[in-house]
Amino acid sequence: MVAAIALKQQVLPAPNQAAGLALDVADVSHRFELEGKPLPVLDRVSFKVESGEFVALLGPSGCGKSTLLRLVAGLEPPSAGRLLVDGEEIAGPDPARVVVFQDPTLYPWRTVWKNASLGLEARGLLHARRERVDQALELVGLGAFANALPHQLSGGMAQRAALARALVNDPRLLILDEPLGKLDSLTRITMQGELVSLWQRSGFTALLVTHDVEEALFLASRVIVFSERPARIVAEVANNRPYPRHRGDPHLAELRGKVLSHLGLDANW
């Protein structure tokens, strides 16, 4: 029995030891101050994400989904309510919860390799885990571009580099803030497939913000639909289709109609 577990750990690649984090968003509200007036962004949002789940947050642009991700990342505390990971309140940023933003935001003075290794360097782990950087770059297909500078990369390559920078830290909750939003449609389709297989292999929990219904349904096992700002949860749509999914799947088309109707867009379906 013990031998079997040891064997299994050897077979699995290094990043997969820790299970995904469970997230509990409990009655969270948030507002910004805009020219002295409070601007409510989130209105009593509550939902749970189980360990290893892939959940998509879907809603109109500018509704406050990205703000919710900033709260989950620990970059800001919520105005009201609580956010818990594995039962503990989020007190600040933690490399176990890594964000990939819409804009890759690579550090232009660092090579691709040095960008990807930033998290390890910041925590003083670079010497011990150098090979993790190489692995992550190989994984996103940038092994040959380790010494390239960000301005030499295309948009898709830069976003892959940003993804590698997140994966190097073996995140247990990967927070994706429209990471494919600015890519051309072909690169986008490829990277959606890669995200799914990555998630399946690694076992992290994934929280994806998107305003693309098809993307949400292709990737997520559950889609949470938000209203216009201030964001409120309108509906939750479970999506039990097995992975890997196919874009032409009639069940997905059916779910798409359902989700659009929650967004008040069923007239366009």
Partner: protein, 337 residues
Amino acid sequence: MSAVSESVRDTPSIRLAALSSALAPWATGVAATLAWLAVAALTYFWQDNADSDWPYTDATAVAFAALGGLLAVGTVSASTLRLAQGVRRYAPWLLVLAVFFAAWEVVTAKVALLPMPFFPPPQAIFEVLVDDWVRLADSIIASLFLLGRGYIIGAAVGFAMGVGVGWSVRIGYWVHPILRFIGPLPATAWLPLAFFVFPSSASASTFLIALATGFPVTVLTWSGVASVRSDYYDIARTLGASARFLVLKVAIPAALPHVFVGLFMGLGNSFAVLVVAEMLGVKSGLGWYLQWAQGWAAYANMYAALLVTALICSSLITLLFKLRDHLLSWQKGLVKW
């Protein structure tokens, strides 16, 4: 078909253009060579004005001829050699310079059109460079030491203050008003006070140069740190970066392009203060040499010192730009100095 295109290609004007573009690097090289040999001949064979006595006329002519010879070598040698590339690139400039030297030679030494001793001929400046080089070299070394000390102190303090003000609200609260009040005051305005307060004129000058350098470095470093994109911090923080890491590995590298603008402005300021301080208090250096030469009405010495000072200032700026190009090689579209 081929006959038509042949005739189009062979129109005389096109042929001429092709010929001149093939000849151009050669032609300007040859012209510059001949021009410098002509300046040498003019200097050598045309007798100097009877009233004047320039011991280095012949030697200067030889120097001009040597330059012409060097250009000739560069013109005929293979274009892979650095000398040949330099000649090809600067030939038009060298041609114009030859014309300038010829005119200078004629209106001073040959026909004495310009009043002496205010406008010495090239051979007088050549004479200073040959005969007084020890004193000039001493002055250069003294100036470089003074400038180096003041500039390095000013740049280091300015950089640290700029990072502090840009990063920490509390440091900003205390430093910002001082910076606003004292910064715009020209460093030279402190001169009388500095020479009185400091134990030596050297330390007073060091302080003034540091002050002149420090202000632009502080302000530009500060603005560089303040304008770092907040995403850069957010991402580093989610990856586990400490405050120290954010300052050293995010804020400072991101601010470096601004810092170099400050260092560049500070270097210009420091030259101005260096020369003034040496003219008014310090008993050595190029500023002192200029003042001393003027006091003795040794105008040739003054021109020589000006020439040397210009060369040194320009070289120091070039050095700074080289350092910048090296450190900021990740940037696209850098301005070439």
